[in-house]
């Protein structure tokens, strides 16, 4: 791309040709080729709605191409709540441009002026209703072999038929009828099944393995796997091989029971960075606060273990994967396999719900390494539950220390926080050094680099949402990025925002109490932005906050934020009941995600994110001894179950004239914060450590 090109909207800027996004065939099928992938959030439905609107075709005409390297636009990673901003914006513009080009060509050919031509379900009709042409009649005309013009104009709001309506999800029917839709269900002729024989602990070295006779085993350094014709034979063989391995193990993990002390020590020898600093002349503070918050490592805990299928054809490999970024995976896989980029083709297929960088990319590389041993034969590798919970990347443990100050009238004067954490991004394809799990375990290994922490300008990692969105004259945020990474970490829904929104909202509550003000009023008087105020007031109205009645053992609390301080808003009010442990019973959520393409889909995202938050708030913690992760089953890593899931109400403020803002991550941080504040309302204790277990609450009560 030359420097003189005009900037095109969203992902269109880097994928400028219309044929990269759309194809028509003479049978009346429109193929939409998104670079963003379905990770459970309903993006394919929203993109289909947008395309159908702008092209003026029925939704049922639109087929979605599987995202594949070399064929699909490179939209990077489906992450960071950017699918609508990047992909939705690009599809809208590309489809508007396409309609404009067809209109112009058909007008020229027919002599009917453009403004007198109507488009109905892909047919271009003259004033007399006569068909002048269609997308399909001109399918072979090569009209899409052009760059999208910058001046294409999407339809005015009033002309949208589908955007803004709760169209049913295009992927859900397959899922309620048990159709083969997931990569787990891919069955290729002659396919073999693989299982790994994972090291017993981090950094273990395989000293010796006595292979069972006739067994098909693949070994590359410390990476060991087995192949068999059936899943059950592969499982049995993996167990037999595991019993015949001699591993040399070493202590490599910190003391899980003193995680905050370790974070402090590792942070002191880490990489400090002042993220933001601003000062103003203010009166001397009347009150000062010093608080310390901590959270454990958190697992993705995807419901389906990671899975991939790979097949070598000569010197090239084909991979089917539930990765969030086919191009990013291709890049790291090619590096590790020591192949040119174009010799690796990655096709996306859905996996179980994905909430960030989980094991999808790791298992894909592993399948490719195993399949190399059986050229021409497809190999399906499925991780075990223990691998999924024990070896996928985690969200890092964190320590946040805050000093805040308040004026005599209660106003917030100063905020100084220090955030100690590993970086929150360790995705493939972002660095010359591959980040995939076994890249460091194979015979010719790649080094392990500590995870990166993106700057605030691109949303931040550990410091995401660390800047309070309240009026605040004095502010300093410092990060300490760990340069050691005993447990492999990367991005999980919300990244540092989960921690930072909680710490900010906990202190806001505490300061409101000291000022003798209601937590809602206190927040409102520190908020200038109209959209921030609107979600907060809406949530308060939904929960009847001002009319709430105190009940023994029950509490209500507020949490609010604008995700990344630049994306969607979420205000959550939680109600908890304190019994033998704390249960979250109800959540009221108000959101603002800009223009809403699918209201029901957006509500589903806000609700799911908040329930995910409740699970993290109350239950989730990765545990380990000095060698291995011990929370590798649903028993040792519990998540919220049906019996304890809160009821949820969601209301969205639709802003059809505003930009799309992704909805998947806006409610999770506020939900955690609201639960923490509700615990204080119920028990008079402000928890300082996630998850909010009876032990963590007792510790906070003891000071």
């Amino acid at each position: 791309m030359s420097g003189t090109e005009v900037k095109l909207p969203g992902s269109l800027n880097a994928n400028r040709r219309l044929s990269q996004w759309l194809a028509f065939d003479s049978d009346g099928v429109v193929t939409l080729k998104p670079g963003k992938v379905e990770i459970g959030q309903g993006i394919l439905t929203a993109l289909t709605q947008i395309a159908a609107d702008e092209l003026d075709v029925g939704m049922e005409r639109i087929a979605l191409a599987r995202t594949t390297t070399g064929e699909s636009p490179n939209e990077g990673v489906t992450s960071s709540s950017l699918s609508m901003q990047d992909g939705g914006t690009a599809v809208r513009h590309a489809c508007a441009a396409t309609r404009g080009i067809y209109l112009q060509v058909i007008s020229q050919r027919s002599g009917v002026p453009m403004e007198r031509i109507a488009v109905e379900d892909g047919r271009f009709l003259g004033p007399d209703g006569k068909e002048l042409g269609s997308y399909w009649s001109l399918a072979g005309a090569g009209l899409l072999e052009t760059e999208a013009p910058a001046d294409a104009t999407p339809k005015p709001i009033a002309a949208r038929r589908l955007s803004g309506t709760s169209v049913a999800r295009v992927d859900l029917p397959d899922k309620v009828f048990g159709a083969a839709r997931f990569v787990h269900d891919l069955r290729l002729p002659g396919m073999l099944h693989a299982r790994t024989v994972r090291p017993p602990s981090r950094g273990a070295v395989l000293r010796d393995v006595a292979l069972p006779e006739g067994a098909q085993v693949v070994r590359d350094g410390n990476f060991l796997a087995v192949l068999a014709a059936t899943e059950w034979e592969a499982e049995a063989l993996a167990a037999r091989v595991a019993a015949r391995c001699r591993w040399e193990e070493t202590d490599s993990l910190p003391d899980d029971h003193a995680l905050d002390a370790w974070l402090d020590v590792a942070g002191a020898r880490g990489e400090p960075k002042v993220e933001i600093e601003r000062a103003a002349e203010t009166p001397a503070p009347a009150r000062t606060w010093k608080r310390r918050f901590q959270r454990p490592y958190i697992a993705h805990a995807s419901l389906g273990p990671s899975c991939a299928v790979a097949r070598w054809d000569g010197e090239a490999v084909r991979i089917w994967s539930h990765t969030q970024g086919v191009y990013n995976l291709r890049s790291d896989a090619a590096t590790v396999l020591r192949l040119p980029l174009e010799s690796v083709v990655v096709t996306h297929m859905e996996g179980a719900g994905c909430y960030g960088h989980n094991g999808a990319d790791d298992v894909a590389l592993e399948a490719a390494i195993i399949a190399r041993a059986v050229p021409g034969t497809p190999v399906r590798l499925l991780w075990t539950r223990a691998e999924e919970l024990g070896w996928a990347p985690y969200s890092p443990g964190m320590l946040v220390e805050v000093e805040a100050s308040q004026a005599a009238d209660g106003s917030l004067l100063g905020w100084r926080s220090t955030i100690t954490s590993n970086g929150h991004v360790n995705r493939p394809g972002r660095d010359t050094n591959p980040t995939l799990l076994v890249a460091s375990q194979i015979a010719e290994p790649f080094p392990v680099k500590p995870s990166a922490n993106p700057p605030l300008a691109t949303g931040g990692g550990s410091q995401r949402n660390a800047i309070p969105f309240y009026r605040l004259p004095n502010l300093t945020v410092t990060t300490r990025r760990l340069l050691e990474m005993p447990l492999r970490v990367s991005s999980l829904r919300g990244l540092g925002a989960l921690m930072n929104v909680w710490t900010i909202e906990s202190l806001m509550d505490e300061m409101a109490e000291a000022a003798g003000e209601d937590p809602l009023d206190f927040r409102l008087r520190h908020l200038d932005d109209e959209r921030s105020r609107a979600v907060l007031e809406k949530a308060a109205a939904m929960a009847n906050w001002r009319g709430r009645v105190k009940r023994e053992g029950w509490g209500m609390g507020i949490g609010v934020a604008r995700y990344k301080n630049s994306a969607a808003w979420g205000a959550v009010i939680a109600e908890v009941e304190a019994k033998e442990r704390v249960f979250c019973r109800r959540l009221w959520i108000a959101g603002d995600a800009g223009e809403i393409v699918n209201p029901d889909g957006v509500k589903n995202q806000y609700e799911g994110g908040a329930i995910h938050g409740a699970s993290v708030a109350l239950l989730e913690r990765v545990t380990f001894d000095r060698r291995r992760v011990t929370s590798d089953s649903w028993e040792s890593y519990p998540i919220l179950r049906f019996s304890e899931v809160p009821t949820v109400e969601v209301e969205m403020i639709d802003r059809p004239a505003e930009k799309f803002l992704g909805a998947g991550e806006a409610s999770m941080g506020p939900a955690i914060a609201a639960i923490a504040n509700a615990i204080h309302d119920a028990l008079g204790v402000r928890p300082k450590r996630l998850p909010f277990t009876p032990e963590a609450i007792a510790e906070a009560a003891a000071g």
């Binding site: 990770i39 459970g40 959030q41 309903g42 709760s166 049913a168 999800r169 992927d171 859900l172 029917p173 397959d174 899922k175 309620v176 009828f177 048990g178 159709a179 083969a180 839709r181 997931f182 787990h184 269900d185 059936t230 899943e231 059950w232 805990a301 995807s302 419901l303 389906g304 273990p305 859905e350 996996g351 179980a352 719900g353 994905c354 909430y355 499925l382 075990t384 539950r385 029901d600 889909g601 589903n604 609700e607 799911g608 994110g609 908040a610 329930i611 995910h612 089953s633 649903w634 028993e635 998540i639 179950r641 049906f642 019996s643 899931v645 009821t647 949820v648």
Partner: protein, 153 residues
């Protein structure tokens, strides 16, 4: 070889008897609805009905199904003739990734077979063996109640 009735049809699947029913169904059975989640009866993604009773296919030996009737989500209904639960899950848009739904749907069918008008607590209790990571629980509960109403009508 294990012979049983699968979704109403007699089958004989070529698997060793000690192999899990899940492997038999997804392997020679050719089904994709019952899913592997944990292998230890903790998540419910593999749930099927054996003689109408919810059973973890991941840990049940295939031999235990011999001579019995096994129903998977594929046996509940089809896009052309959906089970009221499948129709209700679509009407309520009760799902996100959908990985949990195969198991949840058969457990819900077993619930409605014994309790045609379950209240919310009964539904939560019947579905407690099932995990959903996307947070679709409340929609799923509403969908089960909707199906119960449809079936009563």
């Amino acid at each position: 070889m294990v012979a049983f009735t699968l979704n109403g049809a007699a089958v004989a699947l070529d698997v060793p008897e000690e192999v899990s029913l899940l492997h038999a169904l997804r392997g020679p059975g050719g089904l994709s609805g019952p899913r592997f989640g944990c292998g230890t009866e903790q998540c419910g993604t593999c749930m099927v009905l054996v003689d109408g009773k919810p059973s973890y296919a991941c840990s049940l030996p295939a031999s235990a199904a011999a001579g019995r009737s096994v129903t998977t989500v594929e046996g509940l209904g089809t896009p052309e003739a959906p089970h009221p639960l499948q129709a209700a899950f679509l009407a309520e848009q009760a799902g996100q990734c959908g990985y949990c739904l195969s198991g949840i749907l058969v457990s819900a069918a077993a619930l409605l077979a014994t309790n045609p008008d379950p209240d919310e607590d009964a539904i939560r209790s019947a579905l407690d063996p099932h995990l959903c990571r996307c947070g679709s629980h409340n929609r799923i509960i509403r969908a089960v109640r909707r199906a119960a109403k449809e079936m009563a009508a």
